[in-house]
Symmetry: C2
Subunit: 341 residues, 2 copies
Amino acid sequence: MADIGIKQLAKILGISTASVSRALNNPERVSDAMRKRVQDAAKQTGYRPNKMGASLRTAKTKNIIVIIPDISDTFNSGVIRSIERTASDRGYSVLFGDTQGIRESEIGYGDMVRTRQADGIICFSHNLPFSDADLDSDNFKMPPIVNSCEQLQSLQLAGRSIPLVTIDNVAAGREIAKHLLDLGHREIAVITGDIDSPSTQQRLLGYKLALKEAGLEFNPALVFEGEYTLEAGSSTTLEILSEPQRPSAILCMCDETALGCLYTLKENNISVPSDISVVGFDDIKFARYFSPALTTVAQPVDDIGRQCVEILLDVIDGKSVAQKTVILPHKLVIRDSTQAI
Amino acid sequence: MADIGIKQLAKILGISTASVSRALNNPERVSDAMRKRVQDAAKQTGYRPNKMGASLRTAKTKNIIVIIPDISDTFNSGVIRSIERTASDRGYSVLFGDTQGIRESEIGYGDMVRTRQADGIICFSHNLPFSDADLDSDNFKMPPIVNSCEQLQSLQLAGRSIPLVTIDNVAAGREIAKHLLDLGHREIAVITGDIDSPSTQQRLLGYKLALKEAGLEFNPALVFEGEYTLEAGSSTTLEILSEPQRPSAILCMCDETALGCLYTLKENNISVPSDISVVGFDDIKFARYFSPALTTVAQPVDDIGRQCVEILLDVIDGKSVAQKTVILPHKLVIRDSTQAI
DNA sequence: TTGAAAGCGCTAACAG
DNA sequence: CTGTTAGCGCTTTCAA
């Protein structure tokens, strides 16, 4: 006997398909006897409602899509995990799209709401996952979407407001720079992520703010553009070491970068923290296991993921979202990669 | 103007919905003029076919689900990424389910093929994602499924054969143990993963084989059950250190474990590799950046992911899969965490 | 080559 | 409380 549908089940029980549907989805709207009879039969026959049928009818998929540049990034995968867990608790499945930063790929995934494969989008990119043509079009309607960690580029925002869940990157950047400053460091090199990304810009702004508060001049020559990867951390550090003047501290805007940096420093027999202090950003799970254990800014990965989902589901449900931007608390985590000069 | 459906588009063009559908999906079956007219109009109006409607009709979703115990595991997320990329190239989307090892959760995700949310499953667990009741039932039909890296427990296999993509864990375990043996190590402690998991059992078997080849006796007291996590690596190493006799080498069955191990060793002022040699398994991206850089067994993450998808799609398409088990080559990567005794 | 019409499996409006 | 009925948007016969 193959898979059974609602019709067959109804026929077996000698009732209408409507009753089967109700007994299963709105049990309070049928008699106790009916409910029990249907539920037992469903279990016994192994009846599984075809979600496509239901989705088509209800125009809801109970899927959300998360668009992410790199799922193998340790920080991202932490957030993803939390997203999946929360969504699953709320009866939603998570589709995910790893875009590798490719614009066409983002757009392809962004389309999945319009093709009714998903009800909403969580986006880790600073680009909206829609083509310019779409965005400019009059009949473009923004699907439910929330941004995780990355603010959208302002030009795309024009007249639109997309919910955002993030930490205060400016404050965090400022805090960790201040930590270094308080330790007496004056020449603090910075390894950024993609220089165009808002998170990088914001953290950099925080760094400048801290400098100013300490009465120091900002020196652009100390800013090195990198990427949020181990490799970039390693190669950019090499660049820094080739400069005539060596900084006493390196501020990395992501832990993977910092770990790559630590590696290269060790390769070059520069010891951390006695010769150079290094800090990261994110507090990925590896940070405390490195040697030296990394001083960094912890982001509330679980909360970020959870809030993204909750806000998205509110938008999907048509509830107006009171707070368009949710700023979650970060925390400076001081370990062994920094010391007073 | 809201989103447009096939009917509206057909009406606008003054043709039937059938022609629209054909022009878009089977362009070779309509006249050139019709094809062009429809495709232009589709682009111009921003028509996006509702996939639910299509899925319902064709009984295909173009989704695959990947069931995974922990997406934030660095090795897993690498494979996932490759799965996603391959699937996407082939026109499939990836739904994913992070089960945290919870049986009910596995089963829930396993159900998604029967509820027509996905066409097939890639599974990272050694359990089939179906309830015992289902498995025992006569009218249970195994959906398209392939296992990644983990062989199924034999009792579940009874009479079923599920494709598997993996490395040869026995050979890999044997090789890395031999590496240690060749270096003169005789007391080699092992930190395993979940002792019930086939990959652990196989790697352990490899270890025993290598011992035997070296004419050594297997000592069960040297085997410590851990988990595939940093924390377990750290805490289990503490256990090992509390034993009266200290081994000269520790073989960890996963890199995260090994990294946790390295950490605890350093905490206890035991230097690697001069006091103790340590090896891992997987060659996650962090392995070479640790200090000391980790000697390990590299798994072909990209190939594993790609093959899983390709085989799964073959099964979905009803092609008989010639090779039920695909063994991919691993590679011993010798770095700085091991040295001759 | 095209159109008309049926129907995938389900839910919801309406009656009874 | 339950049944009848009408689609959701698409693809695919079948006929023209």
